[in-house]
Each structure stands twice: as structure tokens, then as C-alpha cells.
Amino acid sequence: MIVPSGQPSRRDVLKGIAAAGALGALAPFAPRPALAADKLVVGVIYVGPRDDYGYNQAQAQAAAAIKKMPGVSVVEQEKVPETTDVQKTMGSMVEQDGATLVFPTSFGYFDPHMLRMAEKYPKIRFAHCGGLWTEGKHPKNTGSYFGYIDECQYLNGLVAGHTSKSKKLGFIAAKPIPQVLRNINAFTMGARSVDSKITTQLIITGDWSLPVKEAEAANSLIDQGVDVITCHVDSPKVVVETAERRGIFVCGYHANQAALAPKGYLTGAEWNWITPYTMHVKDAMAGKPMVNFLRGGLKEGFVKMSPYGKATSDHAQKAADGVKAQMLKGGYVIFKGPLNDNTGKTVVAAGTGHKQTDVVLEQMNYLVEGVIGKV
């Protein structure tokens, strides 16, 4: 049951219960999807539940969109661990459902799982989320799609910087890996472009989904005086709800969490996977060769911002819209020198800048000046 934003009304759920007795809360079960031979069967695999208000929901929204395309039938499987399970799941979609295009959406599915299946099924297209595909190294029937979401995190930071009174921001992250560090840094740099006194306090929880720990992290940040918070965990639900309950502001991540924090939701960094999904599906239907390396930012429509919340001041909106307009034109450089990390070491020299496509950014192993924390 995927609702793009917001939630099913109580009446809908109650109607479902009424329809099928007390156990019938699952009334929205759809009938068996037609697996007609003349349709393009697309398989989508999620690592977690697809209604998590986060990473998996963002993917599921794209799957729901391509489901509406004529001639496309979609089979989905959720909570598939990054073990031989996912290899067999890809195999089942190919062998049992006739899928010819598969989206294994978790980062850890790529190596070795998807690569092994791509070798076994050379005629099937595999499109992986994460940006690992390398020319000459990986097979032609595989590819990766990814978005420069640090652009959105920069805008999140900008809005946060305009909103914060205490000049202290908080970031709750699962693991200190390059993708996450890039978001933390972009968020901090966005905020510090408003006021260089601003700092971001970082808390690492250690895993992608730990609700109680995430709530504790949010509470201790708030106790330390943080008044705007964001995160990079699989499901931002708990962080957003805790912030709302404690009366501070929050920037979303992965999907739109505005419904969870009507008072404090400023804006959010969202994936817009509909763009790459549609491209891959169209190419597959037309029989065109697969585009192996698909990525983009705001300009290309791979990522988007949540609509501003009530708490976002006009001033902050104007400032963010200004930078966003530049990003939409293309060529906006976030990581440009002189840039120091939080130990004082220069990480980007004066006069150089890393464009979004620069692979150096994918090996990020530092926290920029202003982040309180250690890698």
C-alpha cells in the first residue's frame, strides 16, 4: 500500500477491516498480476519494507509509476537480504515471471549478487541503484542509476541555516561511508553559507534501521541545543516524528515526510527515481541498448525537493530558490576550494572545484569544517 505522500484516511483502512472481518485489514490485496507474454515484465527488489517513508518507499513510488505505463507489468519483492537470497530472487523473476528488466535497488545487491546473475542471464537487463557501474569492468547488460542528492542536502542545509536560532544543527547517520559523508558535508556547507558560526553535530547509529537508537540520538542532539535536524538512515520516520514532538525543525530525506511533522517540516531531499526507471523501461521496450551509466541531479530530474513547510520563512525560501535555480541551470559546484576538513587539513585546494560527476567525490573520507564528529 503505497501512498506517495500523506497516508490513507482512517476511513479507507476501516472500510477495509469492515470488508473482510477483523483479520481483513489486508483487504487491498490486488488480484494476481497478469504476466502476459506480450508485456514487458519488470522486476523490482527492495531490501526493506516498501512503505518505510524512506529509501525503499522512494523506489516503490517509481515502480508504481512505471506500472501505469501501457505494456508494462511489474513484479515486486520486498525485504530481500543481501545474500544468495537476492540472487535467487533475481533468478526467480527471470525464470518464473519472465522478467527481462530487473531493478535490484539496494546498494549491497551489486557485487557479487547482481554481477553473478548478469553473467548467468546475459539477455536480461539489470539496473542497479548506486552508481557502481564502470566501463570495461562490468557487463553491458548491467547498469547503475544514481542521483546527486547532495544538491538537495545543500539546499536543506541552506534552509536549516536560515531557520536555526541556536546555530547548531544535527545529523543522524547510519554509517560513515562516502555517500553519507557527502550528504553530511553538503548539508553543513549549505548551512555555513548562511552563517559560518553554524556547526553540525553528527551522531552515527551504526546500522540502517534502529528506531529506538535513532530516537535516542535525536533526543540527545536536541538536549545539546540543536534546533534543526536531518538524517541519512533507511527510514527517517522516527527522527522526523521525534523532532516534531520535541518542537524543533526537521529536513526530510529519501521521501516526503511532511505528513509526519506538519509543524516542523522545513523541506526535504527526495529521490525522484521515476526518471531513470522510465528511461530504462522505454529503452527496453524499444529494444535499444541499455544506458549503463545514468545519473543526474536536480537539473536532470533524478532528485527533487519536498515542498516548503509552513515553518519555512519566506527569506529562507527565497535564498534556497536562488541556489536551486543555479543548480537547475547545471554546472553548480558544491565542493570547491578552499575547503578544509574539521581537523584543519585542506581537502580541496583553493581554485579547484569538483563537479558533481567527479569520481573524487565518491571516495570522500572526511568531514568538512563545522561538522562535530569523526570518521
Binding site: 500500500m1 501512498v3 497516508q7 490513507p8 482512517r10 483502512v13 476501516l14 477495509g16 477491516i17 483479520l23 485489514a25 489486508l26 487491498p28 526493506g48 519494507p49 512503505d51 518505510d52 517513508y53 525485504k79 541556536s166 547548531k168 553535530q201 553528527l202 551522531i203 552515527i204 547509529t205 551504526g206 534501521s209 534502529l210 528506531p211 529506538v212 537508537k213 535513532e214 530516537a215 535516542e216 540520538a217 533526543n219 540527545s220 542532539l221 536536541i222 538536549d223 545539546q224 541545543g225 534546533d227 527510514s235 520516520k237 522516527v238 516524528e241 521525534t242 514532538r245 520535541r246 505528513a259 509526519l260 562535530i372 564528529g373 569523526k374
Partner: protein, 306 residues
């Protein structure tokens, strides 16, 4: 909000102890009753998750979080009863049934809970015990949920009841020696059934705290093994309800320590910090156990003591 720096750590640990300990407290009190009667129920994890789900669902359907708490207790009672009835059968192993129940409970909760992941149910209110303080941190740390207070009252009442009531005496006797209890004319199976069902009910209420107060929503990753940990916690507490309360506070506080230390800049070794409560429990078990005698306070009939 004024920053507290290092002073924030004890306040966060105190707040965390109050926030995080309640599920531990309820589950361990429930397990305490069950184990005192001579049975162990490892399935409380499954009951906790079922309680969290059914509590949230009922709160959503009725608009009343307290109805949710009741529903969670009822669900827990029913599952506890299932465990008890199965274990009353000859040769059926209580630990194995517990593991089966863990699987069944979590599976059923995930299955039936699907439609409730997205909707927002009304949650339990907090009592602002910190209203006297000018510090927002202290005010937040002392936001206490009524279930926490009920839990304390329950611990006190249970401790008293085990010592001073006929009912408490019977449960203990059944747990210490079923032969003696039988000789006294007590129905051992019935007492154990009752104790296990009540234990399940309390675990269900503990689960509703997770979904209806803290963190306060239903999702499949909600429990990170609190129900399983509570079983170890009871042994740590030597089957004493008051000690269950202290140990639950300790576990809650220990869970808050990691994030609190990071928020003041102690950033390395967070995995090891997170494992601290387990290491401490193990260390205390090693220090207090002896191969020559059973643990002080241990029910003699408990399968894990024989």
C-alpha cells in the same frame, strides 16, 4: 535552548533510562512471574512485537491509545496462554515453544501490521514532571509516561505479593518444587498456565509502549530484541521484581549512553558502546554464578537451572 555540554550526558542517560526502560520493565516483570512459576518463555519477543502492532492498530481504529494498550495486553495474554497450554502437554520443551512463538508472533505482527505502517495513530500522553525546571533539557528528560509509573507500581506490588500473599506463595512453591506443590493439593499446570498468560499480557503492554509512546509509531524494525533481552535481564535481576526495575533502568540508560557521548564529541567505538549492556550482563552472570549451587533466588523447577 541553552547547551549543556558534558552535563548533557547524565541528563540524557537519565532521560533515556526513563524513556527506553519501560518495555524492558514490563517484559521482565512478565517473565519474572512466568519463571517464578517454573517455566521460561523465550517467546516474549514475539509477544512484544504483536503487542506493539495490535496496540497501534487499535489506537488507530478507536482513536484511544489506552484502548490500544488494553488490546496489546489482551493479545499478549492470548499468546501467553498459547505457550502455557502447549507446554502443559507432556514432553513439550518450553524453550523450543518459546522460539516457535517468537517466530509466529513476529510473523503474524508483520503480516497483519502492513496496513498500519503508514497511518498515524494517536499516542499516549506524557506527564510533565519537569515543569518546575527552567531547563528545557530537564523538562524533556522528565516527560514521564503513565505506563512507566504503572510499571514501577507493578514492580512494588509484585515484590510485595510474592512475599506476602497466598497467591505469591503458591506461584513460588510451584516454581520451586512441583512435587511439594502437588502434595499440598495445588494444581501445578493451572498455576503455570495462569503465570505464563499474565506474563504474556505484561509483555504485550510493554510492546504497546514502543508503538504508542517511544519511539511512538509502528514499523517492522521497531523492536531490536528488547523482548529477548528482557529474559536475560530477569536472570540478572535474580527473579526479584524490584531488581527488575533497577536493571531495566540500567539497560535503558546504557542504551542512551552511546548517542549521548557522541553528541558531546566522543565518536569512536560506537558498536562497542552499543554492546555494553550485554557485556555487563554477561560479566555479572559470570561473577555471581557458581557451578556448585544454583543462583540465589532461582526457582528450582526452571529448566535452565537444571
Amino acid at each position: 535552548m541553552e547547551a549543556l555540554g558534558w552535563w548533557g550526558v547524565p541528563i540524557a542517560v537519565l532521560g533515556g533510562a526513563i524513556r527506553v526502560s519501560t518495555p524492558f520493565l514490563f517484559v521482565s516483570l512478565g517473565e519474572c512471574i512466568t519463571e517464578r512459576s517454573g517455566r521460561i518463555n523465550l517467546g516474549l519477543e514475539g509477544i512484544l512485537v504483536m503487542g506493539a502492532m495490535s496496540g497501534y492498530a487499535l489506537s488507530y481504529a478507536t482513536d484511544s491509545p489506552w484502548a490500544g494498550v488494553l488490546a496489546a495486553g489482551g493479545t499478549g495474554l492470548a499468546l501467553g496462554l498459547l505457550h502455557a497450554v502447549l507446554c502443559n502437554l507432556p514432553r513439550v520443551n518450553d524453550i523450543a515453544v518459546g522460539i516457535g512463538l517468537m517466530l509466529f508472533g513476529t510473523g503474524l505482527a508483520f503480516f497483519l501490521g502492513k496496513p498500519y505502517v503508514q497511518p498515524k495513530a494517536p499516542t499516549l500522553p506524557a506527564i510533565p514532571f519537569g515543569a518546575w525546571s527552567g531547563s528545557p533539557q530537564i523538562r524533556a528528560a522528565l516527560q514521564v509516561n503513565a505506563l512507566f509509573l504503572i510499571g514501577i507500581a507493578l514492580a512494588v506490588a509484585l515484590a510485595w505479593a510474592f512475599r506476602n500473599t497466598r497467591w505469591g506463595l503458591v506461584v513460588r512453591m510451584v516454581g520451586d518444587s512441583s512435587d511439594a506443590a502437588r502434595a499440598m493439593g495445588h494444581n501445578v499446570a493451572l498455576v503455570r498456565t495462569f503465570a505464563t498468560a499474565v506474563g504474556g499480557g505484561l509483555a504485550g503492554v510493554g510492546g504497546s509502549f514502543l508503538s504508542l509512546y517511544y519511539p511512538g509509531s509502528w514499523s517492522e524494525g521497531l523492536s531490536s530484541g528488547q523482548g529477548l533481552m528482557a529474559v536475560a535481564l530477569v536472570i540478572f535481576a535474580r527473579w526479584d521484581p524490584m531488581r527488575c526495575f533497577y536493571v531495566a533502568l540500567l539497560f535503558g540508560g546504557a542504551g542512551a549512553l552511546g548517542p549521548a557521548l557522541q553528541s558531546v564529541g566522543v565518536t569512536s567505538g560506537y558498536y562497542l558502546f552499543n554492546a555494553a549492556p550485554y557485556v555487563v550482563t554477561l560479566a555479572i552472570m559470570i561473577a555471581t554464578c557458581s557451578p556448585r549451587r544454583t543462583l540465589a533466588g532461582a526457582p528450582g523447577e526452571l529448566s535452565i537451572n537444571r
